[in-house]
Structures are given as C-alpha cells and as structure tokens.
C-alpha cells in the first residue's frame, strides 16, 4: 500500500526550486550562485524521478542521469571560470564584473 502521494514529492521539488531561484536572485557570491543552480537541477531531478516511479516510466531515470552529467560539466567549467576571473579581478561578486556595461 502506497503511503506517500505523488503530490508530496512534487511540492517538495517546487519548494527546492523556489529556494534555488531565490538564491540565484538574492546572493551575489558567484560560488553560492552556482550552488543554487545545482539545487534547482536537483529539484528537477526529484520531479523526474517521482513521475518515473508513479507513472512507471524509465525515461525519467535516463533524463535525470543526463541532468547529472550536464550539471557536472557545468560545475567544472563554471568553477574554472570563477578561478580565472578571480585571478584577473580578485573578486567573486557578480556585481563587480560589469565590463560590458560601460
């Protein structure tokens, strides 16, 4: 007998996505920004896996796998860019990086 409704998982994923979105919009430290993006990707993964379980689709698992792969690539490149920018400008704040704004 199932005891956890599908909506529980979906609501939790929506909360995590909202927290991640608020983090991207409110924090200015680029490291915390990247972490918030990882949190949003995880919220999407939770939604995919919940639907996969309750609807009997394996596609959700495959899609979540690809999300993890893309997240790993994004974190690697993003953190390398953070390192390069920090060497050049000595800052981790996105507000300080406005070379294109003049």
């Amino acid at each position: 007998m199932t005891v956890i409704p599908l909506g529980h998982f979906l609501l939790l994923a929506a909360m995590l996505f909202g927290i991640g979105l608020a983090g991207v919009l409110t924090r200015r430290n680029v490291l915390v920004l990247l972490m918030s993006i990882e949190l949003m990707l995880n919220a999407v993964n939770l939604t995919l896996l919940a639907f996969a379980r309750y609807r009997g689709w394996t596609d959700g698992h495959v899609f979540a796998f690809f999300v993890i792969a893309v997240a790993a690539a994004e974190a690697a490149v993003g953190l390398a860019m953070v390192l390069a920018v920090f060497r050049l400008k000595r800052t981790v704040f996105v507000d300080d990086l406005r070379l294109l704004k003049r």
């Binding site: 995590l16 430290n29 490291l31 000595r90």
Partner: protein, 216 residues
C-alpha cells in the same frame, strides 16, 4: 500513527529544506564553505528521497557524483581562492534581495497551485502491486540508456570530455606570457603581498595590468 515510509519522507524532506535554507542564509552563507557543507547535507537527504522512489542507480549517482565529485570540486575551488573576510562582504539588504525572495516565493506558489490542482483528486496507487514494479535498477536504466538513448549517452560523454578540457584550459595559470619574458622566481610571490607597481628583479611587474584598481 502514520506509516514509517511517510515519517521517513517527512524527515528527509525537512532535512533537505533546512539544509537548502541554511545554504542561502546570509549569516551562515557569507562564507561559501558553509554553503557548500549545507548543500552536501541537502544532497544526502535528496539521495534518501531518491531511494524512497526506488531509483537505485540515481541514488548511488547522487552520492558519488553530486555529494562526491561536484561538491569536492566546489570545496577545492573555495580553498584555492583563499578568500579573506574582505572578499566575502556582501550587501546586507537591498531592494533586489527582497524582489528576488518575493519572486522565488511567487514561482513556488504558482508551481504549488498547479501541482495541487493536478494531483488533488488523484487516488494513491499501490506501489507494492506487481503491476507497479520499480524501474530504477541499474539493469533497467542501463538497458534504456544503451538502446534507445545511445546517441545521447555518447554525446554526454563527449560533453564531459570537452568540459574537462575546457576547465583545464580556463583554470591553468597564464603566468608566462602575461608580463614576464621568462619564468622568473619573483613571480612565485603572490602579488597581493607586494605593493602595486613594485619593480621586481628581471623587470617583472608586481601586478598584471588588468588587476589594477581591483584591490581593496
């Protein structure tokens, strides 16, 4: 007395939400290493939720790839940056912070409305029924991945290779051709210890020109 699965779900969900909130709080999140540790805790709780959804492969991947590889990368970069407290100052209050929080809440509210409308009248299905066998084992996901999604799988491996090469190219030190004609021992001093404009031996400038004006 609620069933144990539901209790476990609530414990894991609360842990995930608390860890995610701790990641964002300005008091704890000012130092990015605190955010990273909170996010690792959130990822472990999420792995437990994936296990509840009988996604065995994704549970293992969540711990190995997310809590392992990605967050270790984050902590390594945080340690490499070696931030001083002056580097971590962040405005305490600003209008866009309020706007961002409100927008996050708004998006959650919209999603919650849709979810409640879509799943409100749904009868809970019996997951223990043989008709509803779990599909998240390594065999099921692997069969799906190596047959239907083989091209996407190979493309993902190419993407990871390109990302690894790109990360190495982006992050490697470019000391040789920035300002020093030959590799000089003076460049091994961190330039934050040397006043800007100091002429070092071998004619190497203490600062690359691009970092002028970025000192605090």
């Amino acid at each position: 007395m609620p069933p144990p699965e539901l209790i476990l779900f609530y414990v894991l969900a609360t842990g995930t939400l608390v860890a995610a909130a701790v990641m964002l709080l300005p008091s704890t999140g000012r130092n990015p290493i605190h955010s990273a540790i909170a996010l690792i805790a959130a990822f472990f709780c999420l792995a437990g939720l994936y296990a509840q959804l009988s996604a065995h492969l994704l549970t293992a991947l969540q711990i190995i790839v997310y809590a392992g590889a990605i967050m270790v990368l984050f902590t390594f970069v945080i340690m490499l940056l070696n931030l001083t407290p002056a580097d971590m100052r962040e405005p305490r209050f600003a209008w866009w912070k309020v706007a961002g929080g409100v927008l996050g809440l708004f998006v959650f509210g919209k999603l919650a409305t849709v979810i409640t409308l879509a799943t409100g009248g749904e009868q809970p299905i019996n997951l223990a029924d043989p008709m509803n066998t779990p599909l998240g084992s390594v065999r099921d996901v692997g069969r799906m991945m190596y047959t239907t999604n083989l091209v996407a799988f190979e493309l993902a491996s190419v993407l990871l290779l390109v990302a690894a090469v790109g990360a190495v190219v982006l992050a490697k030190k470019k000391l040789d051709y920035v300002d020093a004609p030959e590799p000089s021992p003076a460049r091994t001093h961190l330039h934050r210890n040397v006043p800007a404009g100091t002429v070092l031996p071998h004619g190497a400038d203490a600062d690359p020109p691009a970092s002028h004006g970025a000192h605090h």
